[in-house]
Amino acid sequence: MREKMHLITQRLGLLTAAAALFAGALGGAATLAEAASSRAAENKMVLVARQDPGTLDFVKSNLTAMRLWIPANVVEPLVYFNKDGSVSPGVAESWTISDDKKTYTFKIREAKFSNGAPVTAEDVIYSLNTMKASPVVDYAAAYEAVTAIDKVDDRTVKVTLSRPSQNFWQGMGAISGLIQPEASAGTIATNPIGTGPYKLASYTTNSTFEFEANPTYWGEAPPVKNVTVRIITDGTAGLNALEAGEVDALPVITIDLWEQLSKRELDKKYSLVTYPQVGEPTYAVLNQKLDKDLRETIAKTLDRQSYNDAFGAAWGAENTCTFALPNQVWYSPESPETCPFPYDMEGAMATIAEKGYASTPLEYASLSDVPDLSLPADIMVPAMQAAGFNVTRNAIDLARYSQLIFQGRPPQFDVTIMSGDANPVQFACPDPSKAGWSTYCSPEYTKALADADVALTQEDYVAKMKQAADILRKDAVIVPLIAKKGVGLFNPDLKGFEEPRVNVAIELNKLHW
């Protein structure tokens, strides 16, 4: 018997050795330094995306997974808004704004799209009209004041507004202002064409984006000629790939990985960047149909620090009661001045007992397939139950959530949690019958936003936006919890990352070895 066991052990040992030899023959040990430097020498880089957009149609889709890569890199807006507040040329090489701020005249650059076709005034008019008719409300909202888009000459386009509009001007530096050739509109979902520093060589769903330097780009050629973006949906696999030196950066690391990232000390081995633009506010939404006292009582059960702690990385998020990100001037961190309903569990319990809220059944709609949102729900629901609320958690996937809440009228929830764009205009609602998915509708808030939109000076604009933010938080329908920053990990040799200018787009042409 001992001989047999010995034989088995010997054979298993041989098998293991053979496997090791086979694996060794398939490729030598790749250290991080070797892998990175070899790509640097080949003028390449490999980045990681956590989500597959499924479609690259930037007119119809507002998925972050698309907006990270296509705007600014492949398709450019008319202008760029820089971090310091200045404005740089994009597809428009210059522009003039009338004194009454109701006429914008754009001089179109003499440039070519990546398919070789020249950029014409007709393309610009087509693009602006297409975005004006976009089914994505946030994109079309920039054109609310636009009354005409006209060709002045072959290289000049004039946009006429019925009133001054900050939203229009800001939109021209965002997705609303992206310029595409009309002739290529049919392939926008898989191969969008633009004037950017890169062209999309290929997009394989659930696999990769391959970018190549655009030979017809009007500006300076990008330092890194070939960029691969690997779609790695499993977060741990993405971090493994970085550690193995197979990829050079994870420019956007979702909140569910922050704790792991710290525990593996990857923030020490790699360059960790945090930036607000790709961040998102995480906020509770309390259906406006609920009694205001009830909403305020729920708001008092929200311990912002516990949400921040749950993500395990203090560098990634700030507690806040303002619906904004730290790069927006009306933002403020959590403070007694800006928190109308601070955490007060005992006070909440007393109110629940006094007003009998325990007998009011509440449905908490929770997105089951988005870790950023299911994790806060894990905290919020037990906290509400501990306070004495009769709350039931209804966990549903994104498609169902879209149907019941984003699309549902009235939306089917009492309480939910959401995270996304920090654009306050999304909650504008002039008439309760037109309330969006969040149920929030306030004429006062909407008026403050409209006043900000027509502001003729930046100071006036900021003052009105602060006023709007104050109305929003006091109404206790949209209850901000934390402002998450964008977080990225880069190979220390890969330098030049700059904060996004066009929404959340990672500008690949700024990166260099």
Partner: protein, 315 residues
């Protein structure tokens, strides 16, 4: 035999019809629609309805079903709503990952399971047989994602011998494609072997007690000769069934492996399209898998008939 085959074919067609209705209703019963997913939370119901209309999702259910099934019968699997890509092209591209992954995993599993299972059966009641049974039980209990992550950490991160994940297309580099598949195949094969060892062991144990094996030994064959020449053919019957089922499961059921190793295979594609409610992509892809699975079952049933004349006589 002809009646036997006709019966099986009738069952095959009936099963396909029932499956097509079930697939069509199930994906719709899950709720949500692709227009709402594409447009996200900022869209108005009017915008969502307008987009759903352009996708043809507001037509009566029966019209949508017969439109889809009619196109399928004429060889048109449909197109993705979001990208307008042909489902046939999408599936073909994914099969270049999923088929090598599934078959290599299965072959590896069989290469390990048949000798080890036979050895375990021959040594039942001995410490080495018990050890192998224990190891296979542990293998069955190990989640495939865990095995995948461990292999990725060891061979990818620590040793740097193989890619931790990702895919190099066959057209770009066949060697790169093979390298991309090694760890996923190893994960799949080892877990599959653990499952199959138990079946092989049980099947071999079963035939070892049969009269015909004793007769074979009585006419002068050694135990090994009798097992190899007479026993294995009989033990192959249940194994063929299990292998048939495993192939079917593997083609569309490797989602965890594909996710852990970031492979653009069929399972991952289906998962993403279910989440996005790309109903045509999901329906056509699942239907293809169903056709494949039921065909495999049909082939297995017909093989039974060929392998064992008693089956033809009794069915």
């Amino acid at each position: 035999m002809a009646i036997y085959i006709l019966r099986k074919l009738a069952f095959f067609l009936g099963a396909l019809f029932i499956a097509s209705v079930a697939i069509f209703l199930l994906i719709r019963g899950a709720g949500g629609n692709v227009a709402a997913v594409v447009l996200g939370k900022g869209a108005t119901p009017e915008a969502i309805n307008a987009l759903a209309h352009t996708y043809g999702l507001d037509r009566p259910m029966a019209v949508q079903y017969f439109d889809w099934i009619g196109n399928m019968l004429s060889g048109d699997l449909g197109r993705s709503f979001r990208t307008n890509e042909s489902v046939a092209d999408l599936v073909t591209a994914r099969l270049s990952v999923s088929i090598p992954l599934a078959f290599s995993g299965l072959v590896l599993g069989l290469l390990i399971a048949i000798p080890v299972g036979t050895y375990a059966a021959r040594n039942v009641g001995t410490p080495s047989g018990a050890l192998l049974a224990l190891v296979s039980q542990i293998g069955v209990a190990v989640p495939v994602f865990w095995a995948g992550i461990l292999l990725s950490l060891l061979f990818g991160v620590r040793l740097g011998w193989l890619p931790t994940g990702g895919w190099t297309d066959w057209s770009v580099s066949p060697w790169g494609a093979i390298r991309s598949l090694v760890l996923p195949v190893l994960s799949l094969g080892l877990i599959m072997a653990a499952v199959l060892i138990r079946y092989v062991r049980s099947a071999v144990l079963d035939v070892m007690n049969q009269d015909y094996l004793r007769t074979a030994r009585a006419v002068g064959m050694t135990r090994t000769e009798a097992l190899l020449k007479v026993g294995l053919r009989n033990a192959a019957l249940p194994l063929v069934t299990i292998v048939g089922l495993q192939i079917a499961e593997l083609i569309g059921g490797t989602v965890i492996i594909e996710t852990v190793f970031s492979l653009p295979g069929l399972s991952r594609m289906m998962l993403a399209n279910v989440a996005a409610r790309e109903v045509i992509v999901v329906q056509s892809t699942v239907m293809l898998i169903v056709v494949f699975v039921i065909s495999i079952n049909l082939i297995v049933d017909l093989l039974y008939g060929l392998l064992d004349p008693r089956v033809r006589a009794t069915r």
